[in-house]
């Protein structure tokens, strides 16, 4: 699909001329392009940048009648209250714990899956595995959590039927704080591993077959070839995705956590995002929860920039 000829030809156009007259003639000649993109720019400003302006309520005492700008400043009061509250460490522990657990399992499994699928010789078999493993990606979070609850139901679920069949006591999985993180991570792996492997499969398809031929002549077995050819071949892809994943380690799938959360598993399932939702939307503590939300997104942002910077230094692969 890529057309290399285009960029080659485009390079011959007199792009070097940077005098302002040409620039203005370009702008006026292309006025329709500005007209076209205007609604999109307006959308981004209204729905993405206005809320960024609204972040200031984190440093204010938001009073609905006075609005965002008119509310009085209170400095870092909300942040201090958050840092000193007794649930602060619980939220940090749960948010970070869930993020790391997800990363530890959810990140390598698609890579392994892609490497394995790439080795399967029968194209039909490969196609079948792909068709099946991609499917859960299209289910909604509500459906996946709903399925999990049905299967794990203490009285009717098939998992507990199995447990009792072997003489065990039924476990109320969804109500056990100890089970929450594992259920979250494993159901996520179940849903996303196939889909996440696509990008690696694409990268594997781009590896030059001659490398494999040469290695085979040199007597390298298949495991060695995977290790020395395939893995290095998809390394840039792995790194880019690792950067993105590390950068969002504190931004775990909030919707799913919210759906899986109940009063009984709160001890391990309460993360920053769900707390913001409870305190802010349900409790109407707008300023306080905006402060917590800001705390979370700043950490995310710093993480992303740091990881990207480190990666640029170490592996010369980076997002920008």
């Amino acid at each position: 699909m890529a057309n290399a000829k285009v960029s080659a030809l485009a390079g011959t156009r007199p792009e070097a001329k940077r005098d302002s007259k040409l620039k203005w003639s370009r702008i006026s000649r292309n006025w329709q392009l500005y007209l076209l993109i205007f609604p999109v720019v307006a959308y981004y400003i209204l729905f993405h940048y206005v809320p960024m302006y609204g972040i200031q309520i984190a440093f204010k005492d938001f009073i609905a009648t006075k609005g965002i700008t008119g509310s009085p400043w209170v400095g870092t009061e909300h942040f201090e209250r958050f840092f000193h509250s007794y649930f602060f460490w619980r939220l940090i522990k749960n948010t970070l714990g869930l993020g790391l657990y997800s990363l530890a399992l959810g990140f390598p499994i698609p890579i392994v899956l892609a490497l394995l699928m790439n080795e399967a010789k029968s194209a039909k078999f490969k196609k079948f595995v792909q068709t099946v493993t991609y499917a859960p990606h299209f289910l909604s979070t509500v459906v996946v959590v709903g399925m999990m609850m049905i299967f794990l139901s203490p009285r009717y679920g098939m998992v507990n039927h199995l447990i009792t069949m072997f003489g065990g006591q039924p476990i109320n999985f969804m109500a056990e704080p100890a089970w929450f993180k594992s259920l979250y991570v494993f159901s996520d792996v179940w849903q996303t591993m196939g889909w996440s492997s696509i990008i690696y499969l694409a990268a594997l398809a781009g590896i030059d077959n001659q490398l494999h031929e040469a290695a085979r002549v040199d007597g390298a077995g298949r495991l060695r070839r995977i290790w020395h050819i395939n893995l290095p071949g998809i390394r840039p892809t792995i790194i880019i995705l690792l950067i993105l994943n590390l950068g969002s380690i504190m931004g775990v799938g909030f919707e799913k956590v919210l759906l899986m959360q109940n009063n009984l598993n709160m001890e391990t399932s309460d993360i920053i995002a769900t707390y913001v939702y409870r305190a802010g939307i349900q409790g109407a503590e707008y300023s306080f929860s905006a402060a917590i939300g800001l705390f979370n997104s700043v950490i995310n942002f710093i993480l992303l920039i740091t990881v990207n910077w480190v990666s640029k230094r170490v592996s010369e692969t980076s997002l920008w």
Binding site: A2, N3, K5, L9, E15, R26, I27, N30, Q32, L33, L35, L36, I37, V40, V41, Y44, F47, Y49, P51, M52, Y53, G54, I55, I57, M117, E119, A120, F125, F128, V132, Y134, A135, F138, L139, S140, T141, V142, V143, V145, G146, I150, F151, S153, Y156, M158, M174, M193, I198, I199, A202, V217, G221, L223, L259, L264, G280, A290, G293, L294, S297
Partner: protein, 294 residues
């Protein structure tokens, strides 16, 4: 072809075993739900149904189609998906096309404006307050406007425009006196049908599965999308199950509800199920195009 060593043969076999295992793990819950929805709920709840339907009947489906909430939710979701996808598509095209043009002065600045929102945002509360101030709470539009376009898809579409449509074609059209909008509608769009199909599928699935903005912004039950109704039946119903376990009739009624759950799951995913062959083919294509410039 060189001879395979013994190690390689073992390796080969293990690959097939592992992949088959993965496939079974992913497939079994899906088949179970499908079979259970056609079975007598009693057999499912007692754990007698294992793979194929037992005591085949369609009672659960009949009950669903008598359920007012599900029907309303279904039609709402169809409406949100149709209107929402249309808005998404138009916004993605008019956003991506100018950005694909090398002679579009300011493209880098505008691109930066868009991309920055991928990494930083106002967060839940300021966004909620904005929606409230705009008077969009509990309106139809809150389901389709605040997520009118996604930057990922703009990038994918822009990449497609740049790489698959020769720039000379556009230059020639300009020389012939074709305006930019005409270039877009007469030349670009007819050549972009594959990517437009990808976009429609991307956005439509997202709308079909969305529940959070409804949870956040809607309180009128007549506007609830299917996913919120599903949540009530599948998840909140389940939570009740942990607490109350009173009379005989309550237990019987509950069993009925348990049986319905499977059918609800199937009905909710019918469109996705039907579209799956297309989804798979086109989505993979979309992911590939995205990956080039990921």
């Amino acid at each position: 072809m060189l001879l395979e060593s013994r190690g390689d043969r073992i390796f080969n076999v293990s690959i097939y075993i592992i992949l088959s295992l993965v496939t079974v793990i992913v497939l079994y819950p899906l088949i179970f739900v499908l079979s259970a929805s056609f079975s007598d709920p009693q057999t499912v709840l007692r754990g007698e149904m294992l793979l194929w339907p037992k005591g085949f009947n369609l009672n659960s489906y009949a009950k669903i189609f008598q359920n007012h909430d599900i029907l309303i939710g279904y039609s709402n979701t169809i409406l949100y998906t149709l209107i929402g996808t249309l808005i998404n598509l138009v916004m993605t095209i008019i956003g991506a096309y100018p950005l694909s043009r090398k002679d579009f002065v300011g493209r880098n600045a505008i691109m930066a404006l868009f991309v920055f929102t991928m990494f930083f945002g106002g967060g839940l509360i300021p966004t909620y307050l904005l929606i409230k101030d705009l008077g969009m709470l509990n309106s139809f539009w809150v389901m389709v406007i605040p997520n009118a376009v996604s930057i990922w898809n703009i990038i994918i579409m822009r990449t497609f425009f740049q790489q698959s449509i020769p720039y000379e074609l556009q230059e020639a059209a300009t020389i012939d006196g074709c305006s930019n909008i005409k270039i877009l509608t007469r030349i670009i769009l007819p050549l972009s049908m594959p990517i437009i199909a990808v976009m429609i599928l991307f956005y439509a699935v997202a709308h079909w599965n969305a529940f959070f903005s409804a949870l956040l912004y809607l309180s009128d039950k007549n506007k609830f999308p299917l996913q919120l109704i599903l949540r009530e039946i599948l998840i909140q119903g389940q939570t009740n199950d942990m607490v109350k376990m009173s009379t005989e009739s309550a237990i019987k009624q509950q069993r009925e509800v348990e049986g319905i759950k499977y059918a609800v799951l199937v009905v909710a995913n019918i469109p996705v199920l039907i579209l799956y062959p297309f989804l798979q083919r086109y989505f993979v294509k979309g992911v590939m195009i995205g990956a080039i410039k990921g």
